[in-house]
């Protein structure tokens, strides 16, 4: 073997190791290897391509193997003394094949890409186009001027990406026409929805992930917040603390697609007022995200009316009961005493009969107070002192009234004072009553104090209950109940305390005008 022949042959074979079609490169290399080294056969396998090149076909057992990262080689024939140079050649061929495989893979990927890929030089002259680019542009020498991240060309829209390597620039265009059309359709659909939502007289709101993402004008009116405030504000601020758990559960159910009937909940307006609303809703996909779309109807007035009607029903039932029971009892007693008088001519029976009739009259008079409780008229500004003074007539004990204040109430406030005076005289057997009226911040505090027997601690908590009676002089059991209901109608509160040194104090708090 001549050394220069080996060098020359290695040089010639080296020139065959070049990127290209893998099968052709292996075939040409294999043929020349066999020819120049007088070998018998050559096998190259490229597992990743499932490719096998065998020269000639039907190659038998081989004496020399070389396993590269991409190619496995086998050679038959006398390679004694040539193992190293042949291995070096194969190592290099393996590297080039590996490169070619990946190159071919990427080239095919780019060629078959649904995106248009155009490679241009620094002057915009087209160097290479893939199939999609050919579809769009046809045979072109220069790429049209492209500006912006979205480019319109011949009625279609393309998103634009670029990659530069030195003076060579790749422009990648993705046809987003259909996406744009869908976006446009979605936008029109959303605009129609917004128009409809703004036209309806109920609050329409959409939420996602703990945020409001849409509210209409009616929602502004309902909540007292502007749209911007609602959309940028915190979701939970619209709900009182004790409603949040309920809301959270309802939202979970709605987003999970569980059946959910319309429900009522209280909301808190920007001015602090609470309103009762009925929530109707559904699950929607809003800009690609699952959220809730709800119509919120203010049912505060209806709820109040419902409660008033319930109260009225209850009071009518109460009146009916009193009339049937207490008045009938009193009148029956009076009749019995008269019958006894007719037989005995005992004057005491007449007196007892009169007392029974008086009790019946008292019961009927108390019924008038309940009228105020269920009145539908609105409240008005009244002078508390005047009300207290009007009620003070005819009790036969001193009733001292101090202070003055104006509150939102009605004539029912007179009945409140009459009941408290009556209670002090009848049950407390007091010898005087002191009424003190004063402003306490935004409130008007009214203290009605007697100096009688007082109320035992164990029943203090029950004196305002409907029909509660205590002691031998107990009457209908509705006097203090009426007081409480009237004060609540005025938006105030009433409680009872011990007086010093004896008796009780009824403390009323109403909002000042």
């Amino acid at each position: 073997m001549q050394k220069d022949n080996l060098s020359i042959t290695l040089f010639e074979l080296e020139t065959l190791i070049k990127p290209g079609k893998v099968e052709e490169v292996l075939l040409e290399f294999g043929k020349e290897l066999l020819r120049r080294f007088d070998l018998e056969c050559f096998v190259a396998e490229v597992p990743m391509l499932r490719l096998r090149v065998e020269i000639p076909e039907g190659c038998g057992g081989c004496s020399f193997t070389f396993e590269g990262s991409a190619v496995k080689f086998r050679i038959c024939g006398d390679v004694e003394g040539l193992e190293k140079p042949i291995s070096d050649l194969m190592e290099r061929l393996d590297q080039v094949i590996q490169h070619s495989v990946y190159y071919e893979f990427w080239v095919n990927l780019l060629e078959k890409s649904p995106d248009a890929v155009v490679v241009v030089d620094e002057h915009g002259n087209v160097i290479k186009c893939n199939r999609k680019a050919m579809e769009i542009f046809g045979e072109i020498e220069k790429l049209p001027e492209i500006s912006g991240s979205v480019w319109e060309y011949r009625g279609r829209f393309y998103s634009v990406a670029e990659y530069s390597l030195g003076a060579v620039r790749s422009v990648i265009l993705r046809d987003i026409t259909e996406v744009k059309e869908l976006e446009s359709a979605a936008r029109e659909s959303e605009e129609r929805f917004r128009a409809l939502a703004e036209a309806v007289p109920v609050a329409v709101m959409a939420y996602h992930d703990g945020k409001w993402i849409f509210v209409n004008r009616s929602a502004e009116e309902l909540t007292g917040y502007t749209k911007e405030e609602i959309l940028s504000g915190k979701f939970w601020e619209l709900f009182p603390q004790d409603e949040r758990e309920k809301i959270s559960e309802m939202m979970r159910k709605r987003l999970a697609g569980e059946p959910l009937e319309p429900y009522k909940v209280r909301i808190r307006r920007k001015d602090g007022e609470e309103r009762v609303v009925q929530v109707y809703g559904t699950r929607v996909v809003w800009r690609g995200k699952i959220g809730g779309l709800v119509a919120v109807v203010d049912v505060t007035a209806e709820e109040r009316e419902k409660k008033r009607l319930e109260d009225l029903t209850r009071i009518l039932e109460l009146i009916n009961k009193i009339l049937r029971h207490d008045v009938m009892n009193a009148l029956a007693s009076a009749a019995a005493f008269i019958d006894i008088y007719d037989e005995t001519k005992d004057e005491a029976m007449l007196k007892k009969s009169k007392e029974a009739i008086d009790r019946a009259v008292m019961v009927v008079r108390n019924m008038r107070e309940f009228e105020s409780v269920v009145k539908e008229e609105g409240l008005k500004v009244v002078n508390v002192r005047e009300m207290a003074e009007r009620a003070a007539k005819g009790f036969g004990i001193p009733i001292n009234i101090e202070g003055d204040c104006e509150v939102l109430a009605d004539d029912g406030l007179v009945a409140v004072f009459e009941n408290l005076y009556q209670n002090a005289v009848q049950h407390g057997e007091t010898e005087r009553v002191d009424v003190k009226i004063r402003k306490a911040g935004k409130h008007c505090e009214i203290r009605v104090a007697d100096y009688g027997r007082g109320i035992p601690d164990e029943i203090k908590g029950r004196v305002f209950e409907e029909g509660f009676k205590y002691g031998p002089k107990a009457s209908t059991g509705f006097g203090l109940y009426a007081v409480k209901r009237l004060i609540e109608r005025y938006g105030g509160e009433v409680r009872v305390e011990d007086n010093e040194p004896c008796g009780v104090v009824f403390v009323i708090r109403l909002m000042c005008v």
Partner: protein, 321 residues
């Protein structure tokens, strides 16, 4: 396999034969519309160590199994394929390689390139039909020993075939091939022109290096503008040595070739060797005293290793047993 030397009119009487026809009488054969034989037209034929240009060499078989081109891939029993190629056709050379890639060394290949030095002609025929640009194979059940030698010697001058297309050398050392070749010959005192190209170049072929065995010779047959066209393919970046002839070494090579094969039943000897050796070819031919064959345009031989299309070479075959 029995071999006879026949007149052209006698060919009509033979059957199951492969006939080698000298170019000089090929037209007569075409006119005679010979049937039942296959064969080829060569610049000359060899019978018992002598060249004939007016007689036909006929190899008679008990049963002639002849294939055209890739039809031979169906052959399962042959141990040797007598392989006759259109010597001027690069396509036929590629076809030959394709057949080898399928059949490999399951068979011995032995043969040469047919054709005329004077004109383009349909040089192959089967059953009276002439054609070109192809290969014919004759299946022989016996195995042949084959040997290949040329005897050409390398000079100190060598070039890289930096640009080629098949058999065409376009550039040597990045310059027009003819200019480089002419300058190389000029350095050794030989002048060559486009007109004298064939006559001069027959003595100065190219050799492609092999690590084992003789260099493969490429015969520069003609010049086309500045391209040199050889009688076989030249790979791009092939390292080509300029070779020169020495009559004695060529004749010695022929002798060695016969000795290597054991004997010579059949011989294919390149026509350019005849042209180069002139009257001295008779000395080379003495080595083939018991052999018959043809003067060829390129030679084919392969018992093991890669099938090669040789130029300016002697190929002999000796039937085993």
């Amino acid at each position: 396999m029995r071999c006879e030397l026949l007149r052209i009119d006698e060919v009509l009487e033979v059957k199951n034969s492969l006939v080698f026809v000298p170019d000089a009488v090929a037209e007569e054969l075409k006119i005679s519309k010979v049937k039942n034989v296959a064969g080829a037209v060569f610049p000359g034929v060899i019978f018992d160590g002598r060249i004939y240009e007016d007689r036909v060499v006929a190899f008679e078989f008990e049963s002639l199994k002849v294939y055209r081109g890739k039809e031979v891939l169906e052959e399962k029993n042959a141990k040797t394929l007598l392989t006759i190629v259109d010597g001027w056709s690069e396509k036929a050379e590629r076809l030959l390689e394709e057949v080898y890639l399928k059949l490999g060394n399951r068979v011995v290949y032995l043969g040469g390139g047919a054709g005329s030095l004077e004109k383009q002609t349909d040089c192959l025929f089967i059953d009276g039909k002439f054609f070109s640009g192809d290969v014919i194979f004759v299946a022989i059940p016996e195995k042949f020993n084959v040997a290949v030698r040329h005897g050409w010697k390398s000079t100190e001058q060598a070039y890289v075939a930096t640009r080629t297309e098949g058999r065409r050398i376009i550039e040597l050392d990045w310059k027009p091939a003819f200019d480089v070749y002419a300058a190389a010959l000029s350095e050794i005192g030989v002048e060559i022109s486009r007109e004298s190209f064939f006559d001069v170049a027959k003595a100065y072929p190219f050799g492609m290096a092999k690590v084992r065995g003789e260099d493969v010779v490429r015969d520069p047959l003609m010049v086309d503008n500045t391209d040199i066209i050889c009688a076989g393919r030249v790979p791009r970046n092939a390292f080509l040595r300029l070779m020169e002839g020495d009559k004695q070494s060529l004749i010695e090579a022929a002798k060695e070739c016969v000795e290597t094969a054991g004997n010579a039943d059949i011989v294919f000897d390149c026509i350019s060797r005849v042209l180069y050796l002139g009257d001295d070819f008779a000395r080379e031919a003495k080595n083939f005293r018991e052999a018959s064959g043809a003067l060829t345009i390129g030679e084919v031989a392969c018992k093991r290793g890669f099938l090669e299309f040789y130029n300016k070479t002697v190929v002999v075959g000796d039937a085993e047993g």
